[in-house]
Structure formats: C-alpha cells, structure tokens
C-alpha cells in the first residue's frame, strides 16, 4: 500500500470553475484506479487559484495477479486447431495439461497474468485526465497543442515517496511546486500529501478552499464587529473570494457617506459584483453602512494602508459614476423614456418593446378583473411604466437593476406605491425559488408580461426543444403557474391566452395572422376557437399541454403525483386553482382504504369493458334496463351509482371536491359486492349487455371527478 499525491499547477484558474474541477479530478483519477483493479482508502481533492491537488491513500503498489484457465481442443483434434489455441492463449506445448473428460481427453492451458505496477496505471490515469478534462472553456498556449483552462506549468505525481515518471506535451511529472506568487515564490520539493500541505502553508498557501473561506468569514466578522457593524453574509461571494486568493488577508475600507444617497441596490451591486467586496449594515437601523470588507491575497510589507487606500479609490470612482447616473436619471421622468422604447427590438417578429408595452397595458387591465383588489387603472399604468427604466442611464450601465430602478424612478415622480412596486416586481418570479409577487397590481402586470412572452413565441413557432429554450419560455410558464396558484387567481387559462394573442393581432402581426388563416382555411367564425387552434391552446394541443407539463414538474417538487394531475387535466378544466384543488382531494381520497378499493374496482370494471367492447366492436354505454337486473347486488349498485353520481356532480358544481370524492368513495362497498356475486359475462346476451352497461355506469360516475384510467396503481 502506498499514498498518491497529484498536483496540476497552472496559471490562474477562474474562481467559478475551481470547485467542480477538483471534484472532476478526483472522479476521473479514482475511476481509472478502480477500473484497473486498484483499491484505495480515502481520496480528497483541493483547489486554489493556481493548482488542483488530489491525495489518494492506501493504494496497492500493483494490480492483482490474474490466473485464468482455458479449455482447448480435444487431443484428437488436428494439429492446426491446437496451434491456434496455443497462439491465442500465449502458451507453448509443454505448458499444456491433458485432462480426461466424459467426451474424451482435452488440452488445458493455465494463463498467469502478473499484475501491473500501480505507477503505470497512475501515469496513464493522469495523462488521460489532463487530456480529457471537462473544463467549461479551455485554451492552447505557446506553440503547443495541449488544452487546459490556462497554461499548465508543472505536475506533481508522487506515489509512495517516489516520482511517477511521465510527460505530457513537454510537461514532466516531478515532485516540486511553488508557493505564493509574491510572498514565497521559490520552488520546493515534496514527498507526500502531508509534507505538501505543510510546505504549502510555510509558503503562504492554504490548500483547502473551505479553510480559506472560514478564515475570510471569521476575520471579516471580527473586522465588522470591531467597527460596530453587521457583516452581510453572502455564501456565493465567500466561495468566489476564496477562489481568488491563496493567502487571504481580509481588510476593511470605507467610502464617502454621501454615496449612501444612491439606492443601496446600486451600491451593493457595485461592491459585490464588480469589486467582490462584502458589505456591512448598521445594526441599529439596518441600513447599508459606508464600510466594506475585502480579502487581499497578500500580507503586505506595510500595515495594509496602500492596499486599502487603493481599493477605496477604485470604489469611489465607481460609485461616483453610479451617483452621476442616479442624478441624471432623476432629472427626467419615466414617461420621457417611453419614446425611446420604440427603438428597442423585443423580437424581430414580435415588434419593438413599445409594442410590447401597449399589449401589456391592455392585458394587465383585462387581468385586473380576475384579481381580487386589483385597480385596473393602476395595473394599466404600471404596465405602461414597467419597461421605461430600460433606457435609463443606470440600467444601461447595470442591466441587472432593471425593475429595481423603475420602482425608484416611479416613486420619485409620485406614482402610487402599488404602481412603483409592480414596475419592480413584474419580472418575478424568475424561478421556482424566487419570491412570487402577491400585491394585486404586481400580479396583474407580472402575469401580463409572461403571457405576452409565451403566446408571442409560440405564435411564431419559437418553441423550446429539448434542452434549448433561448427565450426562457419554460420559466415564463412556471411563473404564470406560480402567480395564478399561489395567489388563488381564478381564470380560464384558454381565454386568457386568447386575450394575449389578440394583443398581437390588434397590432397587425402578420406572421401570427397568417398562421391562423392557414389553420382555419379562412373559415374562422369563432375568433376564440381560431386563436386557440392557431397557438394550440385547445385541450390536448401544444401550449396547453406545455402548461400541463410545467405544472407536473412544479408540483412534483411539492410531492404531488404526476398521474393525478394528468387524471384531472384530462377533464378539460383550465382553471389551475380548481385543478390543484381537485388533485388535492383526489390525492387525499386515494390515501384511504375506500379510495384504494374504489380505484381497484374502477380498474376492474374498465378492464372488462375495454376487453368486451373491443371483442364486440361496440360501446356499452346504453342506459341500464332496470327490468334486466336480476341479482340484488346489481340492483343496489345501480341505485348507489345513480345517487353517488348525482351527489358528486352537485358537489363539483359547488367546487367541493372533498365532498365529491366522499360521494364516490361510498361506491366501494356496492362495487365490491357486485364483483363478488355477479358474473358479468352471463350466458344470456341481453343480461350480459345490461351488466356491461352497468360497468359503463361505474366508469362514467367515477370519471366525473377525474379520469381514473390515467391513475397509476
């Protein structure tokens, strides 16, 4: 057994790639070892800005010997056959053994394959890993052909204290590396992982990214506390910063408090995104403080004054720029920006952003009618202003502040709070975990924004395919689902989609118009149907089933069974709130004994029906003839079905799905009794037909709530 140490030393690896890269190195090398039959105890991988390192302990020094026995031809076989066998097995005549068997005497060869030296396996494994490393982006350098994330300078490959010798495109594996670029640049040799880690530390490199992160977080905390401030924790930033330094030295800097007049989102963005600084807050007020914390990658020869002053100067210049944009933007009004939206293309076949704003205005007003407490005028006004900040100086400079700035500018020009908030929140929710707007005006505009996107792109056949979704339509659909279901917005999705499509038609969108004309052959008299056909919002058609799929994905994460959604969706309902209520009632019922047995009874009835209907080539959906019901179990089932169906239907009208399911669940007993006592395929044709009709009644009664045929189990 021996321990293996690998280091791939290169020029600076982008911070965002380091964690995955160290994992990939571990995965690739250990897989190669295992494939070759080499076991190991523990493997651990690390990354710094300049190196990937891997330690593997307890690796055998060679792969196991393999001993194999092979049966050859009969001793009576021609000489040629024997020669071929010996060639294939790599043995000579004197190494063969003869064995008597029932069918005669046969030759046997014993092949001994000695194990390979682990060093050979390791050399091959490292070379394969280097040549096939899955960097997101890699490059060539100099006159060479090798690709790595940045130029690769040296490789450590030490096994059991010795160098494993190999070479990849001129880079020799060895046992030396370098420490911190500026604090301890001289090369040094290492004998094993423990030695490597310790010497790196002596040369001002902390190998483990988790240790660097902890050190940064702890020191930052101490610096903030000493200044009487609260550090704003940021896990993502911490990991990034830990990937930018080998020897983190956190320091605290400050900026002119005058800059605090600029919205804090702008200040935070500048500090965090551009400069990788941690921000602090005043614990008393919760407001952003004018102090920031950053991690230098060096213990400087002074007390850190030069580095701190330098960083303060850079930040001041950036904040001055931001303040300039803020003040410039405040000189005008959002309404002044609307004209400029005529010059921004939304999509070449879907018009300019100004066209989109016009459509969103109408749609928001229309949607306001479905949202409790939504003021239609405010919804329309919010939609009008929602995109106006796109041409402001600030958003031009910091694109990710779209919406955020719109809210500030709307408030500054005296718009209602609800209008301003909607300008900010109408992009949300941006994903499954993003906060979903709940303020009525925000919900209206956020819905309008996404409906307009979805319908437009489906209308011009720019649908997502496979992993390609360039216009993020899946996210739009998910956003619509969340906005509707989380706010209990009761609406018919098909009608709303048609209204969104009408917006495009009113603007004379020729592509979408042509699509409708083509599909309807110019005979559309019902516009809503025409629209539905055009973009496939009708049941079973693409856009609605796209919603169905998104709904299943979204609900799956909440533990809801996809087959129950299919079962309810198949009923043709397009009110998402009602659909989920129904699914919930169905799901609860199926957890009870009655529910499980009802489902079993239904399946049995449906199966018999399917087989018999197929055999006879006709449907047994005629009315049950009371006179032909002979057995008590038949009669009581028929009565129970009639009652249960009526009760379920009444409950459905009241949208009391629990009650509907309860009514159906009472059928369990009569159905079970029926199957126990009655033979469906009776000899008398008329009785058999009548019993099949009774089964058909079961099917239709149960299917009032959901298509039970689609439920699994």
């Amino acid at each position: 057994m021996a321990d293996l140490l690998i280091e791939l030393f290169s020029e600076e690896i982008p911070a965002r790639m380091q964690a995955k890269a160290s994992g990939d190195l571990k995965r690739m090398i250990t897989a190669s070892l295992t494939d070759a039959g080499l076991t190991f105890e523990v493997a651990a991988a690390f990354a710094t800005p300049r190196r990937l390192a891997l330690s593997v302990t307890g690796v055998p020094t060679s792969t196991p010997d393999i001993s194999e026995e092979r049966r050859g031809p009969s001793t009576r076989a021609p000489e040629k056959a024997l020669e071929g066998f010996m060639r294939g097995a790599g043995v000579t005549r004197d190494q063969l053994e003869e064995r008597e068997e029932k069918k005669g005497t046969f030759f046997y060869a014993k092949i001994e394959k000695p194990g390979r030296a682990a060093t050979e396996v390791i050399a091959e494994a490292v070379e394969a890993a280097v040549r096939n490393f899955p960097w997101p982006k890699s490059q060539r350098w100099g006159a060479g052909a090798l690709k790595w994330v940045r130029p690769l300078h040296s490789i450590i490959c030490v096994f059991g204290g010795n160098i494993v010798k190999f070479e990849i495109e001129g880079v020799q594996a060895g046992n030396y590396t370098q420490g911190h670029r500026f604090m301890a640049p001289e090369p040094f040799t290492v004998s094993d992982f423990g030695d490597y880690k310790a010497k790196l530390l002596d040369h001002n490199v902390i190998l483990d990214p988790a240790r660097r992160a902890t050190l940064i977080a702890d020191t930052a905390q101490t610096l903030a506390s000493a200044a009487g401030l609260e550090l704003v924790a940021d896990r993502g930033l911490l990991e990034e910063v830990a990937g930018l330094v080998e020897w983190p030295v956190p320091m605290i800097g400050k900026f002119d408090p005058d800059f605090l007049a600029v919205p804090e989102e702008v200040l935070i963005l500048t500090m965090k995104k551009d400069q990788k600084y941690f921000v602090t807050r005043d614990p008393a007020t919760g407001k952003l403080a004018n102090k920031f914390i950053f991690a230098a990658n060096i213990e400087p020869t002074d007390d850190g004054t030069a580095i701190t002053q330098g960083n303060q100067r850079v930040l001041a210049a950036r904040l001055a720029d931001a303040k300039f944009f803020w003040e410039q933007d405040l000189k005008g009004k959002l309404d002044d920006n609307l004209g400029a939206l005529k010059d921004i293309v939304f999509h070449k076949d879907l018009g300019m952003v100004s066209d989109r704003v016009e459509r969103m205005k109408k749609l928001s007003r229309y949607l306001a009618g479905f949202i409790d407490g939504c003021d239609a005028d405010q919804a329309e006004r919010a939609a009008e202003l929602a995109k106006a900040d796109l041409v402001s100086g600030m958003v031009n400079e910091f694109a990710s502040l779209q919406g955020t700035m719109g809210r500030y500018y709307a408030l500054a020009q005296g718009e209602a709070q609800a209008v301003a908030d909607a300008a900010r929140d109408h992009y949300a929710p941006a994903g499954p975990n993003d906060a979903c707007p709940s303020a009525p005006v925000s919900v209206a505009v956020a819905l309008a924004e996404k409906l307009d996107t979805l319908v437009g792109f489906f209308g011009i056949d720019q649908k997502p395919t496979g992993s390609k979704d360039p216009f993020a339509l899946r996210r739009s659909a998910l956003g619509i689902i969340r906005l509707i279901t989380e706010n209990n917005v009761r609406l018919e999705l098909q009608a709303v989609l048609a209204a969104a499509l009408l917006g495009y038609l009113d603007q004379g969108n020729v592509l979408i118009r042509a699509k409708i004309d083509e599909k309807m052959h110019g005979t559309a008299d019902d516009l809503e149907v025409a629209l539905g056909v055009a973009i496939g919002v009708h049941r079973g058609a693409e856009l609605l089933s796209f919603f169905g799929d998104r709904l299943k994905v979204q609900q799956r994460d909440k533990g809801v069974r996809h087959d129950l959604i299919d079962a309810v969706f198949a009923k043709g309902d397009d009110d998402l709130v009602r659909i989920l209520d129904r699914v919930a009632a169905l799901s609860a019922a199926l957890e009870t004994d009655d529910g499980v047995n009802l489902l079993a009874g239904y399946k049995r009835a449906a199966n018999i029906l399917r087989i018999e209907e197929k055999k006879d080539g006709k449907a047994y959906d005629q009315s049950v003839d009371m006179a032909l019901l002979t057995l008590a179990e038949e009669k009581s089932l028929h009565i129970a079905l009639k009652d249960a169906k009526a009760e379920a239907e009444a409950a459905l009208t009241d949208e009391d799905f629990e009650k509907a399911m309860a009514a159906l669940s009472t059928l369990r007993v009569p159905i079970d009794a029926f199957f126990e006592a009655v033979i469906v395929n009776a000899d008398e044709a008329d009785i058999r037909a009548n019993r099949l009709a009774l089964l058909s009644e079961i099917r239709s009664a149960v299917n009032t709530v959901a298509d039970f045929g689609l439920i699994e189990g």
Binding site: E12, P300, G310
Partner: protein
C-alpha cells in the same frame, strides 16, 4: 536615464511609456509606433491583428491612441475619456514565463508587488467585430483593473497557431494608480509641471461635442459604405494590408454612428456583422498572401541552393 518623479511620488506619464518601451525592448520586442488611423483598441493595429495569424514568431510593443466616442464625457468625468492611450505588447508564441515578464514590467514602473495586491481575475476576451476570441484575465492592482492579458485562440475566424499572448495596459489608469491621483486630468505628464489635463482636457470637450452633437451622420453613413466597398475591392485585388485599413475605418465610423445614437438595436448587429465579414476577409487574404510570400522565398532559397 533620469527619471523625474512627481511630488506625489509616482512615475510621470511620459516616463512610464518610455520605461515600458525600454523594458519590452530589453525583452526582445520590436518597438513600433502607433498605426496612423483612428481605432477603438490597440488590438486593431495590424501588428497585432494580422501578425497574430500564421506560423511566424513575432514580438512587438507599441503605444496606440484609442478612440471610443461613446465614452466621451466632455472632460467632466475624472475616469472616462473618448481618447486615451493603450500600451500594447504581443508575444508570439506566448512564452512560458509570460506572467513573470508582465509582473516584471509592473515592477519597472514602480509597482511593488510585495506592497500591493496584484491579482489575475478571469476575463475572457471576445471581439465580435474582429471575429476573435481568447482566454485570459484582467489584472487587478488593489482592486483596480490596470491591464488585460489574453491568449489569442482565434482571430478573423482563423485558429491562432502558435498562440499569441497579448498584454494591454490602460496607460492613464495605470498612471493614476502609480501616482495615486483621483482624476486623469491631474496626472503628472512630464515631471515638470505639465498635467494630462493641460494637454488633453480641451480636446476631450471638443471631441465629445463632435462625437455626440456635430458629426454629420449622412456623411458617416457614406463613409461606412465607401470603406466597405473599398475594402471589398482591395481584397479582390489581393491587397490585404490596405484592405485591412478600410476595415479599421469602417469599424471606427460605426463607433461614431453609435455615439450619435442613429443605429438601432436591430441594425447594430447587422453593422457589426458587416465589419466582421471585412475583418475575416482581410485576415484570410493576409494568411494566404504571407504563405505565398514565404513559399516564394523558400523557392528562391532552394534555387540558390541548387546553384
């Protein structure tokens, strides 16, 4: 060489340029002069764009004035200029010790790497107008970006073999850092009382006014079309060098039109695409022609050998 330092302690602007030139000359670079045309970045200089292509070794350094019309602020912003200087180094093939060479150049202009925090921060480079890309970093000095460092992978849509390493120093930024001043216009130019503002402030005011207000857009549109046509004609005549100058011209004219705000978002892509097509054509023609010339030289050599 006598170096005059300003009262604040850092190297004067012109001394910094002289120092960088002599540093890179000592490391084997040809010291070239700016290309005599308006361009948005030192990369456009034929000594970088064209020389990055083909198999021959090449090492050069030069100052290139850069014009970015949209960055003009009428001399009112202490950090932004529509005209500034880049110091450009190209090393082909990129040497193994290129990072060390670069850090040596910072040392030469007075940046103490044990006192300051110097970092290589991921910044991949792509020029849609040149059809070029590479990987590299921006170099941070105490949080300030002072240089761009790129390993060219493709130029004009053509693979770079060998790979060139390109260094671009933002001279004004770097000088601000070295001198510790907060405004470009306060930079000590010569160590003898002349500031950057004395030389360039009025220029920034007037050129900003030209770029944003007075440039005649009809004429610019004509210039663009003419440069495009001329470039195409010259490519047909197999004259890649003058053709490439027309490409540079079209690129700058586009930048001016952009500053005048007369190019819509949709048209923007189309214009960039037109410049890229020209650049690609020039690069391809240059590679073809230099290969022919090299083959010709070899042919002559082998004939001489025969004789």
């Amino acid at each position: 060489m006598t170096v005059n330092f300003s009262t604040k302690g850092g190297m004067p602007f012109q001394t910094m340029i002289l120092t960088l030139q002599s540093y890179w000359a000592d490391h084997g670079c040809l010291i070239l002069q700016p290309h005599d045309m308006e361009m948005g970045a030192g990369t456009f200089h034929p000594a970088t764009t064209l020389r990055a292509l083909g198999p021959d070794s090449w090492k050069a350094a030069y100052v290139q004035p850069c014009r970015r019309p949209t960055d003009g602020r009428y001399g009112e912003n202490p950090n932004r200029l529509q005209h500034y200087y880049q110091f450009q180094v190209i090393l082909k093939p990129s040497p193994a010790d290129m990072q060390a060479l670069y850090l040596g150049s910072l040392e030469a202009i007075g940046i103490d790497s044990k006192l300051h925090d110097i970092r290589f921060v991921e910044d991949d480079w792509e020029s849609p107008t040149l059809g070029a890309w590479g990987l590299g970093w921006e170099i941070w000095c105490d949080g300030m970006e002072v240089s761009q460092y790129t390993y060219f992978q493709q130029v004009g849509g053509i693979e770079c073999k060998p790979v060139s390493g390109e260094l671009t120093y933002g001279l004004e930024r770097l000088a601000m850092f070295v001198q510790g001043v907060d405004s470009i216009y306060e930079l000590d130019f010569n160590g003898n009382g002349v500031t950057y503002g004395d030389v360039f402030l009025e220029n920034e005011r007037e050129q900003s006014a030209y770029n944003f207000e007075h440039a005649t857009t009809e004429k610019l549109f004509q210039d663009f079309s003419q440069a495009q046509a001329e470039c195409t004609k010259l490519l047909e005549a197999e004259l890649p060098l003058p053709a490439y100058e027309q490409c540079i011209k079209s690129s700058h004219t586009f930048n001016l039109l952009d500053a005048r705000g007369v190019i819509s978002v949709t048209e923007r892509q189309a214009y960039i695409g037109r410049v890229r097509d020209l650049a690609k054509g020039c690069c391809e023609a240059w590679v073809k022609k230099s290969a022919e010339l090299a083959a010709g030289t070899n042919a002559v050599r082998s004939k001489e050998g025969e004789a």
